[in-house]
């Protein structure tokens, strides 16, 4: 019981946010008379929020290293979308090549900032504030302040769905359901294997009943979700990309040596350095990675608008940062998870979407979002100070 309690306490923050997400979903489901969770709106939610979620993943890594944020990501989104126009329209390169070049440019932009932050030791706030101006300026020079239409293939990435190779076109996207079932099977197999391994080592595991109940609920939710999507247009390609990124970065942060080093550095930089961790390399790495992910988001966003525009990505950095903090990341680093940031991103996304359906003005939406961010962090600070006095 005691173990269950501490286990619950440790995960409380994450569960609290998940509960908050479910609560907000139910609330808007009622307020919007059931529009929020209609299949077509669920898939719209994914399209609308994908790029901010991609940015939130990168931002989380920066924040983990010590509460460092990146203010330039919105501008890098714009910078990369402008380059996409330059490569594919002005130079007439094939789309696949201009995508690769776009990703490389984002990576370079990230490395540029990482260099100043890690090796010249300029505070990230300053470097990325400069980057915010710099990359926005480059975008304007490339586009000459105008909006440029992009080749259609770009739209495919951000608005297309996985082709239905199995289905007969009867309104249900069968491939989506099959992919859903398959991923549940892979998940069940992997978690069963890890549980068996733990038992073999003699470590404590949750009781069999709790384990089966948890697996059942998760499988049910995933398959229902897949079915829901199949009722809309099918599985969005962008969701596949996003899913792959979530899995990859969750694995990176939770299971690898690099991940450990990132958390250790955020927890106590000096101790990490004296434990042999190369903190400069890590700092450089997370900002380079942020640039790369901003490029991914930039290409997705350009595809979604089917154009490159001078105002693309305006304010995205703040949405990404807010997603991380709502999702439980610590403002001083060392605490936070990729899943948390994703949940935080969805909370923001559903607030946006729900209020838009209800016809609430953008001005009020901003007020609500600001208050939610403040309350989420206040809750975090409060629960931490309570934990402190208890010890």
């Amino acid at each position: 019981m005691e173990r269950l309690k501490t286990g619950f306490k440790n995960n409380m923050k994450q569960y609290a946010m998940l509960i908050a997400l479910v609560f907000i979903m139910i609330m808007f489901q009622i307020l919007t008379n059931g529009i929020l969770l209609k299949p077509i709106n669920v898939s719209r939610l994914i399209y609308q929020n994908s790029y901010v979620l991609i940015l939130a993943i990168g931002m989380l890594l920066c924040i983990l290293t010590g509460g460092n944020i990146d203010l330039s990501v919105g501008s890098i989104v714009a910078f990369v979308s402008a380059l996409s126009a330059l490569f594919s329209v002005t130079f007439g390169l094939p789309v696949w090549l201009s995508i690769i070049l776009g990703l490389l440019s984002g990576l370079l932009a990230g490395m540029w900032q990482g260099f100043w932050i890690a090796y010249v030791k300029i505070p990230p706030f300053i470097v990325t504030l400069a980057g915010m101006l710099l990359f926005r300026g480059i975008n304007n020079i490339i586009l000459n302040g105008k909006t440029v239409l992009l080749p259609e293939l770009y739209t495919k990435i951000s608005s297309g769905v996985v082709p239905d190779v199995i289905g007969d076109g009867s309104g249900i996207h069968v491939t989506t359901v099959v992919i859903g079932v398959l991923s549940v099977m892979v998940y069940l197999f992997l978690s069963h294997r890890s549980r068996k391994e733990k038992i073999k080592f003699g470590f404590e595991v949750e009781t069999k009943g709790a384990y089966i109940a948890k697996q059942f609920v998760l499988s049910f939710v995933v398959i229902l979700f897949a079915y829901w999507l199949s009722l809309a247009n099918g599985l969005p390609i962008i969701l596949v990309i996003l899913g792959a990124l979530i899995i990859f970065y969750s694995f990176l942060t939770q299971k690898t040596v690099v991940g450990r080093h990132i958390y250790a550095m955020g927890g106590n930089r000096k101790a990490a350095e004296l434990s042999g961790i190369k903190t400069k390399k890590i700092l450089f790495g997370v900002y380079a990675n942020m640039g790369l992910l901003a490029a991914v988001a930039g290409i997705v966003f350009a595809g979604r608008l089917n154009s490159a525009s001078p105002t693309a990505g305006d304010g995205f950095e703040l949405d990404a940062i807010a997603a991380c903090f709502i999702g439980g990341a610590s403002a001083t680093g060392g605490i936070g998870t990729v899943m948390g940031a994703i949940i935080g991103g969805f909370i923001m996304g559903i607030l946006n979407n729900g209020m838009s359906i209800m016809g609430i003005s953008v001005f009020w939406q901003q007020i609500v979002k600001g208050l939610v961010l403040l309350l989420a962090v206040a809750f975090d600070v409060y629960s931490k100070s309570k934990a402190k006095t208890a010890s």
Binding site: N10, F203, L274, G276, G334
Partner: protein, 510 residues
């Protein structure tokens, strides 16, 4: 019968799940120096927080009477108004402000919100002189040493018309000279100004020197109060009260098996990274043998930590010259990772600031320096990690709920054991320990010494840096004495004594 300035009656303080104080009684006689001793976590600091209003009236049970009046402090301001001032272990000074500004911080000499600088400076000068501080009142606090900062804190307390001064571990971070000065000052203001003092300290020799009465607290209860006039207040007697048994030996016995030289440093010179023209270490040469515990003694600021850190993958210093030889081979670790790979390990002086990730749990801290060993292709094997951590938790007797407990919630002794586990896990040949028992209670110290000796018996070479001379003399086989960046003496266990070590330091100053 002398008058009691303070009476704390039946104080009970509960934290969720823990009884931190259990019906504690404390009576302090007016004009005396009263010492409060006990192991870490015994409840000394909690008791003082209750007294000073950090835990407000109503959050504890029992009564506090100060000068015969019942006290119902809601915060620290109210207790200060009554003349109760507490100086915490972590000093509450603002580094970029001057000494004068710090003395009157929160108590600004102002009329209608505008600071009267003439009055501030004049009063500050008088206080600075009173506490024997040889600094200008305009010097920023960051530019003076810890010892002097402690004096500024006392000046600050005196400026507030203090009647009862509480000092929490005032000499923990001071060297012997500064400690002496501080203790003499306490006795002086006690005698001349009639200020009653309560002092919390682990350094029993200081307590026996200055205190008239000693109250021993153990596990949240008041065990006894010893009076200089009536009782034996020898260190052994106090320790007996603290740990609840006779601790016959403070240092475990050992028969050293010393082998050949394993690690050698020759002509090691290092410059200050802040000021590259300043030599911090000057031509240092030393060696350590297999199975040997080597001590490095010296005053604070003599360059011992800098020596350890510059050796440990150049973690400190600029323009480093000299050579390092390990097992007959020249090595040149350029960063901490390389130093670890060469079999060096360094347990930092300050475990909270530089040793542990306090927000992370025991298992992650233990494996941090050697993740390579428990990972395959950069993926950490978490099951292996748990097994390893559990082994160390048992072996080093780390008292915790499990390996999943946050290190920030452990006591000082157990935190130090986690740090030691971390470095033992890197399988070093040479282990450098910087102040390994600072701020740790007597019982845990004994355990740490046993661990250190066990490692030496396993054939590792140990270097212990310590400001506590009895500790150096108690566990080391050979001692180097450092002063002002140089080695000024070397002596064998049989020849080493506090007098000899101090003599080396004093001789080098001419």
């Amino acid at each position: 019968m002398a008058e009691h300035i303070l009476e704390m009656r039946e104080i009970t303080k509960l934290f969720p799940g823990v009884k931190a104080l259990d019906r504690v009684n404390l009576e302090v006689t007016k004009g005396e120096i009263h010492a409060l001793v006990g192991e870490n976590g015994a409840g000394k600091s909690t008791l003082m927080s209750v007294l000073s209003g950090i835990y407000p009236y109503g959050s504890y049970e029992g009564e506090i009477h100060f000068e015969g009046q019942l006290c119902t402090f809601r915060d620290i301001k109210e207790s200060e108004r009554k003349g109760i001032v507490i100086i915490h272990q972590e000093l509450a000074l603002s580094p970029y402000m001057s000494i004068a500004e710090n003395i009157f911080l929160g108590n600004e000499q102002a009329s209608k919100g505008i600071i009267d600088w003439n009055m501030t400076n004049e009063k500050a000068k008088a206080l600075i002189q009173l506490v024997g501080l040889k600094e200008s009142h305009t010097t920023p606090v960051k530019d003076i040493g810890v010892g002097k900062q402690q004096l500024v804190e006392i000046a600050k307390a005196l400026s507030k018309d203090v009647k009862l001064l509480i000092l929490d571990e005032p000499t923990a971070a001071l060297n012997d000279e500064d400690s002496d000065h501080l203790l003499n000052l306490l006795m002086k203001i006690n005698k001349e100004k009639g200020i009653t003092c309560i002092i919390i300290s682990h350094k029993l020799n200081e307590i026996t020197k200055i205190a008239n009465q000693i109250t021993v607290i153990r596990d949240g209860s008041c065990i006894e109060t010893l009076d200089k006039m009536q009782h034996d207040i020898s260190e052994a007697r106090i320790i007996k009260g603290m740990v609840g048994r006779d601790l016959v030996d403070r240092y475990p016995k050992r028969t050293p098996k010393i082998g050949e030289i394993t690690f050698e440093v020759n002509d090691w010179t290092v410059y200050d990274p802040m000021d590259e023209s300043r030599k911090k270490l000057d031509g240092i040469s030393f060696h350590v043998k297999k199975g040997e515990i080597l001590g490095i003694a010296g005053l604070m600021g003599s360059g011992r930590t800098e020596l350890a850190m510059s050796i440990f993958g150049r973690a400190y210093g600029k323009k480093i010259t000299g050579e390092m030889i390990k097992m007959g081979q020249k090595i040149d670790p350029k960063n901490v990772q390389q130093a670890i790979d060469y079999g060096l390990a360094y347990v930092t002086e300050d475990r909270k600031q530089a040793g542990l990730i306090l927000i992370d749990d025991i298992k992650h801290n233990i494996t941090l320096s050697n993740l390579k060993k428990i990972s395959k292709r950069f993926v950490v094997d978490e099951n292996h990690e748990k097994t390893i951590s559990e082994t160390y938790r048992t072996k080093l007797n780390i008292k915790s709920s499990s390996i999943h407990q946050q290190t920030g919630n452990l006591s000082g002794g157990n935190q130090q054991k986690v740090v030691l586990s971390k470095w033992i896990f890197t399988e070093p040949d040479v282990l450098i320990l910087d102040e390994p028992t600072r701020g740790i209670d007597v019982g845990a110290k004994y355990e740490i010494y046993s661990i250190i000796q066990q490692m030496a018996n396993d054939g590792k070479s140990i270097v212990v840096i310590s400001s506590e001379l009895p500790e150096i003399l108690g566990i080391c086989d050979r001692v180097y004495v450092m002063n002002e960046g140089k080695i000024v003496g070397e002596m064998d266990r049989t020849l080493a004594s506090q007098e000899n070590i101090m003599a080396c330091i004093l001789k080098s100053m001419h």
